[in-house]
Symmetry: C2
Subunit: 274 residues, 2 copies
C-alpha cells in the first residue's frame, strides 16, 4: 500500500469514527425525546407504566452519555483532532451533558404526571401544560435536527422560541397563583403544575444551549450570553460558515454533508411517533 | 540549547499553561462563591445593591467561562494532551459549565432575596433558608478546595452532603405548603421561599457534579449516576490513585502537587470572607 493509500485509509477510518459518534449523539437525543414525549403524554393519566418506561430510558440515556464521553476522550487522545473536528468533539461533549439533564427533567415530569392523575382534574385537563410540552419537545427535536443537518437557521429558530416558552411559563405561573389563592384545596395540584412548567422551561433552556454550541461548531462563534438579535446580525455578517466547519472533517461539501443524517434521523425513536 | 533543554523548556511552558488554567478555574469558582454569598446574605434584606453586585459578578463569570473554554480549546489544539492532562482539560470544561450555572442560580436567588424584603417577614427571618444556603456554599467551597488540592476524601464528603440538602429541601418544602394552606395570604412569600430552596438544591447538585468530575480526574473512574456507598467502595478498592493522575502533568508527587494552590486559594475572593 502506498503512503497515500495508508493516509487515506487512516483518514477514512477517522471519518467513520466521527460519523459513528454523531450517530450516537443523535441516538441519545432521540431516546431523550421519546422519554419526554412519554412523560408529557402521561400528564394526568393514571398510568404508572409511564414512570417505569421513562426510568428505563433514563438508565439507557445515562449509559449512552458515558459511552459517548469515553469515545470523545479516546478520539481526543488518539487522533489529536484540530479545527472543526476538535470543535465537533467539544460540541458533542457539551451537548450530551444537556441531553442528559433533559432526561433528568423528563423523569421528574413523569413522577409528577402520574401524581397529578390521582388528584381531581381541572376542567381543561392540563391543556396548557401539554401545549407547552409540545412546544418544548419541538425545540429539542429541532435542535437535534439542526445538529444533524448543520442548519444554522433552524438553530436560530429554536433560540427564538425560548422567549415564547418563557412567556408561557410566566402565564401558567400567574394563573396557578390565582387558583391557589381562590381555592387553597388546589394548592398541591397548582404546585405540581408549577414544577412541571419549571422543568419544561429548563428543557427549553437546554435545547437552546445545544443550538448555541451548534452555532459555535458551524461558525466558530461563541454566542452564549448573547441577545438573539445580535446573534442573527453576527451570523449574517459572517456570511458563509466558518471555513473549517465541514461535517465530519472536511471530505464533503456543506449541505449534502453527513450522508448518514437522513437515515439516522429516520431511525431515531422519536421519529416514529411523528 | 540541547534537545533535552528544548524539551524541558517546552514542557515547563506547557505546565505553566495548565497551572494558569487551573488558577483561572479557581478564580472563576471564587467569584461564583462570592456571588452566592452576597445573594444568600441578601435574603430578606431590603438592599437593591445585592442584585446589582450579583449581576456584575455574573457578567464577569460568563466572560471567564468563555476565556477558559477558549484556552482549553487552544491547549487541545496545540498540545494534544494525553492521559491525565487530557482528563484535566475535560474536567475543567465540565466544571466551568456547572460553575456558570451556579452563577445563574445565584442571580435568581438575588432577585427573589430582594423581593422577599418587600413582603412581611416570617418570625424566624428566613433562618432555615440561610442555614441551607450556608450548607450549599460550603459544598461549593469544598468542591473547589477538593479540586485545588486533589482531595478525594473532601470530594466524597461533598457528595455525602447532597443527601442532607435534599432532606432539608423536602422539609422546607413541606413546611411552605402547610403555611400556604393555613394562610393564603402567605402564598407568594412561600412560593418565593420554595424557588430559593429549589435553586439551592440545584447548586448542591452542581457542586456534586464538580466532585464527580474530580474523582474521574484523580481515579480515571466515571462515578456519575453511582450511589455514594458504591463510589466509596470503588475508590478504596482502587487503592492508590490512578497512575496518570498527577497534577499538572506529572512533574510533582501527589499530595504536594499544584504548588500554587494554597496561594490561589487565599487569593480567591470567597476566601477573604472566611
Amino acid at each position: 500500500m502506498s503512503v497515500d493509500g495508508i493516509t487515506h485509509h487512516i483518514s477514512s477510518r477517522y471519518n467513520e469514527e466521527l460519523q459513528r459518534l454523531v450517530r450516537s449523539v443523535l441516538g441519545m437525543g432521540g431516546l431523550v425525546e421519546r422519554q419526554l414525549s412519554v412523560a408529557i403524554g402521561g400528564i394526568g393519566e393514571p398510568d404508572d407504566e409511564v414512570i417505569v418506561r421513562v426510568a428505563r430510558d433514563e438508565q439507557r440515556v445515562n449509559q449512552m452519555e458515558r459511552e459517548i464521553d469515553e469515545e470523545c476522550s479516546r478520539i481526543l487522545a488518539t487522533r489529536s483532532p484540530a479545527a472543526s473536528d476538535l470543535r465537533l468533539i467539544l460540541t458533542i461533549l457539551k451537548t450530551i451533558t444537556d441531553l442528559e439533564r433533559i432526561g433528568d427533567e423528563g423523569e421528574k415530569i413523569a413522577a409528577i404526571a402520574v401524581r397529578l392523575a390521582a388528584r381531581e382534574r381541572p376542567r381543561n385537563r392540563y391543556r396548557e401544560l401539554r401545549t407547552l410540552g409540545d412546544l418544548v419537545i419541538g425545540m429539542l427535536r429541532d435542535s437535534l435536527d439542526a445538529f444533524a443537518r448543520h442548519d444554522t437557521e433552524l438553530a436560530i429558530s429554536v433560540l427564538r422560541r425560548d422567549r415564547i416558552v418563557d412567556e408561557e411559563y410566566e402565564s401558567i405561573h400567574r394563573q396557578s397563583i390565582t387558583f391557589m389563592m381562590e381555592d387553597p384545596r388546589s394548592i398541591r395540584r397548582a404546585l405540581d403544575i408549577m414544577w412541571v412548567v419549571r422543568s419544561l422551561e429548563r428543557i427549553g433552556d437546554h435545547s437552546k444551549n445545544i443550538c448555541e454550541y451548534l452555532i459555535y461548531l458551524i461558525h466558530g462563534r461563541d454566542v452564549r450570553h448573547t441577545q438573539i438579535d445580535e446573534i442573527e446580525r453576527e451570523i449574517s455578517a459572517l456570511g458563509e460558515p466558518h471555513p473549517a466547519h465541514d461535517w465530519p472533517h472536511g471530505d464533503e461539501p456543506p449541505g449534502i454533508t453527513l450522508a448518514a443524517a437522513p437515515a439516522v434521523l429516520a431511525a431515531r425513536p422519536g421519529a416514529a411517533a411523528e
